[in-house]
């Protein structure tokens, strides 16, 4: 089936099997390997990207369901060489160790801050409650997102 997607601002047309999952389309067809393919069961959230402006666990939607829609992956967070405040926060607060969960965590964090610019620690923990990190114990991830909230709009 022929589909067209607008990924991080670029148009991509491909002919895919309807059963292809969005995560595989993004990684294997488009070569955007920033989004990670983790548990495959919509539990871990390593594959979270945005479909239009809404985060989705991309192992649990078909690529054909994204036909004609905008997709934003972790590669689309930075503006040129300028990292998003969320990315800066993960750097400043050591928000990752192995980095496997990081792309999904960042996409959810950006979405949270777009809707709630001044989240509490509880808000952050609730937002990432559907995502798994096996390294950090979440502590530094939460700090990173709160750092980003405090530094939004910094030059």
């Amino acid at each position: 089936m022929k589909i067209t997607m607008y990924v991080n601002g670029s148009e991509h047309a491909r002919d895919v099997e309807p059963r292809m999952l969005l995560i595989h389309f993004i990684r294997d067809e488009l070569g955007l390997t920033g989004s990670h393919w983790g548990c495959d069961t919509s539990n871990c959230g390593a594959c979270v990207m945005w479909l239009d402006e809404v985060p989705v666990k991309s192992c649990t939607v078909l690529a054909v369901m994204a036909d004609g829609r905008r997709v934003t992956t972790v590669e689309g967070l930075a503006r040129g060489t300028r990292l998003d405040p969320v990315q800066q926060g993960f750097t400043a607060c050591h928000g990752l160790q192995c980095g496997f969960c990081t792309p999904g965590m960042m996409m959810t964090a950006r979405w949270l801050l777009d809707h709630n610019p001044a989240p509490t620690e509880t808000d952050v923990r609730e937002a990432i409650s559907g995502q798994v990190c096996r390294c950090t114990g979440y502590q530094n991830i939460v700090k990173s997102v709160l750092w980003a909230a405090a530094h939004e709009g910094d030059a």
Binding site: M1, E17, P18, R19, M20, L21, H24, D40, T41, S42, N43, G45, V48, V54, P55, V56, K57, T60, V61, L62, V64, M65, T108, E126, A127, S129, G130, Q131
Partner: protein, 300 residues
């Protein structure tokens, strides 16, 4: 690596188009809404549809409104939309209670009310909530629409009355004065299916007598998700700790929980009683039943 088996895919542009696609492709066609139940089932080959009929474009099935003395919820409404609806929570706090603990924030953005109901997992929360509220399901088919009680919607685990050329389009919940509702769930970790959960709806008259009660149980082996014997016990009584404890005991005695990886049978039966008691206490308070009754419950 888990991927679905080969499948064909069609986008529906309206309810009647969806029904005609279901009729054309036969019983091996399945409706695809948010996909957050169906696609995992397809990966595991527990579902192997030959054709998916994608209904995500049917924006007219995404609504929450009051009409005809009912709160009406379109089945493409997502869990997040129901959670965020002040209108829904204003009438039935049980819906916000339940949605807060369904899956996780990301999944709630995509999973739909209709998808959850039609998946008919015995551990699915909304089925018990709608049963407690004595809702009505609206099912569209080739001959028009029919109504089925929420309490007759499920025919067994993963089975509903929705036929192969039918589609659940709406849930209707009767709005009556004096209502208070609540949902209480125990799960092992954030976002998990429940070990057990109870939903309660109480309707009080001006004298404070219970005119009607609805009790739904999730994942606890209650027939049609309902604790009917406990409802019968409460009708005509006054709210109070003793009445709620007795209703809980009746609910626990009449459900048939099965031991699984989430807990043994006796623990689940304990939960049936205790969660019923707690849900009733919160529901009663929300219905305006007196403060200072010593239950130690606070309205969230």
């Amino acid at each position: 690596m888990q991927v679905p088996a080969q499948v064909e895919y069609e986008k529906a542009s309206s309810v009647s188009h969806a029904l005609s696609l279901l009729a054309r492709y036969g019983p091996e066609a399945r409706i695809l809404a948010g996909g957050h139940s169906l696609i995992p089932m397809m990966k595991l080959r527990l579902a192997q549809p030959e054709v998916l009929v994608d209904v995500n474009g049917l924006a007219d099935l995404r609504f929450i409104r009051v009409a005809g003395g009912e709160l009406r919820i379109g089945t493409l409404t997502t869990h997040a939309q129901l959670l965020d609806s002040a209108l829904a929570a204003g009438h039935f706090a049980i819906l916000r209670d339940a949605e807060r603990v369904i899956a996780d924030p990301i999944v709630r953005e995509w999973g739909t009310v209709g998808g959850s109901l039609c998946q008919a997992d015995p551990s699915e929360d909304l089925s018990a909530a709608f049963a407690a509220l004595k809702g009505t399901m609206i099912i569209a088919g080739p001959g028009g629409k029919r109504e089925v009680s929420a309490r007759e919607f499920h025919t067994g685990p993963y089975e509903t009355v929705v036929g192969p050329v039918e589609m659940l389009t709406e849930v209707r919940l009767p709005v009556k004065a004096g209502a208070g509702t609540a949902y209480v769930k125990v799960s092992r970790r954030a976002g998990d299916w429940p070990v057990g959960a109870a939903g309660a709806a109480l309707w009080l008259d001006r004298a404070g007598v219970i005119t009607d009660a609805g009790i739904g149980l999730t994942a606890l082996g209650a027939q049609h998700f309902v604790a009917a014997e406990a409802e019968d016990y409460l009708r005509g009584r006054r709210p109070g700790p003793e009445a709620f404890a007795e209703a809980g005991a009746i609910a626990a005695a009449n459900c048939r929980p099965a031991a699984d990886q989430r807990g043994p049978e006796d623990y689940k039966r304990h939960l049936a009683g205790e969660l019923t008691r707690r849900a009733l206490a919160v529901a009663a308070r929300r219905a305006g039943w007196g403060e200072g009754t010593g239950l130690g419950e606070r309205t969230p």
